[in-house]
Symmetry: C2
Subunit: 261 residues, 2 copies
């Protein structure tokens, strides 16, 4: 019998997080811990594997909060700043390990990482304390330990973006799609009827590059998803105000929430 | 009579901060708030001017902690990751302001910012929420409001690095040099006998690219600096252990410390 796989929400915010710097709205001024959000990221721990999705600027804080001290791989959904700028703080995971850290990203996202953190990739990296990575381009399903990851192509503005379907021994565990406006037909087919989906639900109102909460609710109903946790919120999402109005099988995630699958 | 100028230490750490991810040393495990350090940065507020030095990855946290909601300019000491990767979070300072935010950096540092945050500089930046900047290359003294800044060239590994001398009406207020192994003769001449210096003091032991605490103490004694606050610490610096052994006019800074000049 396998140990369950645990998903930890490291952050559930879009853009620069909630509270937003200089914003005095009700949510940004709220004391509710479920309205305090770092940049979106999840940590997945299975029987054999410790895996991170995205390294936003809050990555250090998130590691310290959750006591993360080992990673087998890091996978990236896309190259936006709020998903990659904590990349260098991964250096702590290759100080004492012999092996470079495995990272998986689309070609476009890898290009952006190389531009922003050239010293990690240029081969001149002599210091022991520096981050050492083994980059792999995402061009189809891949495996990290006992986890199988299938990229889920989505439309999210102009930037090549994927979500991930996580499986083990060919059985679907859950899918994570933090940034999307439209899911590809391929992605929809892969997650139809899935037990657990974590999905972009930026805010109540429509947005050019993100699913709104009503759009996400419609989508998961159409795809007969059994349970959905929305994430990647702006400060237009007041947890206590919006959670009660959602369908029974759709919820708003929060920072620190842990789920078992 | 001018209002005094206030300096706030937004962060006093090197590298990835203290506690260090995955480190279980006495300082990283310490409860002492003076041993908890975000990446080095200061905020300077004078009669007329609000100015930030460096935007490390903790910049959002630092803004929220100190309630910073307006900036007249941002100046950069150098291009290392721990001093620039929070750059995009400056976007909140140009959402409601008509003008682009003035930033000052050496040519090398500006090049690194352009590589990492190309969308801020490429002129295709159409979204209202995106950061808009007016970059200026540091090639000599410059002015921001009522503050005069003189770059202080220093040696810090292979990367072009400066500190800054802050003056008002031709009178020296203080100097800030968070990263340095050796000060240039020019920098030494500019800060000799100064009332207040904030200086790199990485750790008790020598380091290739940073002044150690004993080296910094020797330096400020030689330059007859009246009062020195050390900053940019690793987790080898235990506040309670090391502060008592310092000369009377040399102190260890901490996150949140405010000084008036």
């Amino acid at each position: 019998m396998f140990k369950n796989t645990e998903i930890t929400f490291l952050g559930t915010a879009t853009s620069i997080g909630v509270p937003v710097i200089g914003c005095h709205c009700a949510v940004c001024s709220s004391d509710d811990p479920k309205n305090k959000r770092l940049r979106s990221s999840i940590y997945v721990e299975s029987e054999e594997t410790k895996l991170l999705v995205d390294t936003g600027p809050d990555f250090r804080q998130q590691c310290l909060r959750e006591g993360i001290d080992h990673l087998d791989a890091v996978v990236f959904t896309h190259e936006h700043t709020d998903h990659i700028m904590g990349f260098d703080d991964l250096r702590r995971f290759t100080v004492y390990e012999e092996e470079a850290l495995q990272i998986h990203a689309t070609e476009s996202c890898l290009g952006r990482l190389k531009a922003a953190f050239s010293y990690v990739f240029d081969g001149k990296n002599g210091y022991r304390g520096y981050l050492k990575v083994k980059p792999e381009v995402i061009d189809g399903p891949f495996r990290v330990g006992d986890l199988e990851l299938t990229p889920l192509p989505v439309t999210h503005g102009k930037v090549e973006t994927v979500g991930f379907l996580f499986s083990r021994e060919g059985e679907r565990l859950f899918a994570y799609i933090p940034d999307a406006k439209v899911l590809s037909a391929e992605a929809e087919a892969l997650i139809e009827g899935i037990d657990l989906l974590i999905l972009d639900g930026l805010q109540p109102l429509p947005h050019n590059t993100h699913l709104s909460i009503p759009e996400s609710v419609e989508l998961v109903e159409r795809l007969a998803v059994k349970k959905t946790w929305l994430t990647h919120f702006s400060c237009r999402v007041d947890y206590r105000e919006l959670e009660p109005g959602l369908p029974e099988n759709v919820h708003l995630a929060w920072d620190g929430l842990k789920l078992e699958v």
